[in-house]
Amino acid sequence: MTAFALEGIDLTRRYGGFAALDNVSVRLEPGEIRGLIGPNGAGKSTLMDALCGRGGPTVGRVVFNGQDISRLSAQARRRAGLARSFQRTNIFPALMVREQVALAARMAETDNTDEVLDALGLTELADRRAADIAYGDQRRLDLALALVGRPSVLLLDEPAAGLSIKESIVLARLLRDLASSWKVTVLLVEHDMDVIFAVSDRITVLNLGKVLAEGSGEEIRANPEVVRAYLGSSIE
């Protein structure tokens, strides 16, 4: 039996009468990059929240490297090696770039600050205040904070949001490299279909809080339900 890097099993999260997640299951193989797509309000970020322990109560189980972590806090999940980045840039603006990566490294009990800075092309900006660097650099810093300590699973919520096409392509390449070199399993929410199809081993499509489809990029492109509900003509 395959040991999954991360499993969300029958996850349901309700806000009043509205089910933001309705019995969703997702299983990530070690080292894979899983794309997670769907229209706005499909439940993508809610699924990320449920997996990393953020937000309200969730029905269902989260299993991380074979361990049930459903009852662990977000901090404990991070310390166990389940990291995430956020839809909006989520950094510490007043701190120096190196200072904040080192802060995260200390919590992760590792000393790979330089490695992470180098991998994300932030070495030259290390001694600048995060508030003073360009938006694209801030997005990479956000990613660096999630990558410190070499987490085994990384949940990325729209890392290419606000980036130029060129920056998005570079980011996609970087994610591929990180997944293979660092053996990180990635769950990637992204609206940029070029990025999603370029990097994902498999893709899960959510719609109205339910899994609409799951498969390889080719299978998803060819799925008429997905095309109707989400992709439309964007893949033509």
């Binding site: 990291a83 007043a94 701190l95 490294a105 200390r106 992760a108 990180l178």
Partner: protein, 339 residues
Amino acid sequence: MSGAVSPAKSAVASGAVASGPRAPKFVIAAAVLAAAGFAVPWMVSSQLALTLMTQSVIYAILATAIGFMIRQNGLTSFGHAAFFGMAVYLMALNGKFDAIPAELAILAAIALPAVFAFLAGLIIVRLPALSFSMLTLAVAQSLHELMLRWRELANGDDGMPVRLPSTLFGVDIEVFQAPSTMFVICWVALVAVIAVLTVVARSHFGVLTVAIRENEERARYVGYHTLVPRALVFALSAAIGGLAGVLFALYNAFVSPGVLHWSLSGEALIMAVIGGTHAIWGPALGAVIFFIVKDAVGDLTEHWPAIIGGTLIVVTVLLPHGVSGLLARFAARGEARKP
């Protein structure tokens, strides 16, 4: 942006989150500053002037406590007089009931506000900034009312003496009550407080609390617990407020409910804002400016608070980081011009 992942070039020691102050330079600067205080009584012959300067240094310590809270937690206390007054009343009541040795009472007067603030902080530092400010104000005013109304205990508005033994820590009590010696003690205490807070601010704990101030959610998602560090900053700030109260009690040997009043918290907050809270020493500078303006303008008009108010408006609008921020900007420009 590098596209490929390369191996680590070098390891960074896990303790290198924040480099500590450059030790020799820092220690020398602190020692020189502390020593400078010894020269003041030689240069200032007026006992009245020394008394005013001693009082201003005590309030500078209180302002530094408030500034540290703003700097590290991003929270503004409107009721730090509670910690100041708590310490003074503890010493006064200990003298009245002769409960514990005065030396122990001094330590308790610093520890009690810290413990109180830590426990309260576990609840109130989670609140929005305005709610936190209002709650600190409410707590301080409640204590003020308690000491004002409970005449049997604290003699109400008439106040009560702080009875002290003839020696403290083996030092004659006169030393703590003569302006020339007490100024030096308070000055050294202020320098020590600034030095300790600088070390704390540059430590891992200091960087962490600034990170939490900046983005608590992110701090949580890199794995840190955020509540206890914030409560600890509040406790440390309260302990320093308590230290200021102890010095006040030793010097004045008298207490009235005024030491718990919101106006004292407000004045110390104004000092912190004028001086700026970006630098640990900013609020102390603000206290100096406050007392200079008060003294200079107070001779001309009884409406000196209006001048202080005007100064506050000017600083808030033109110098968001206070006078210390302006000085730091000049210093940075000077550094940049160096070849």
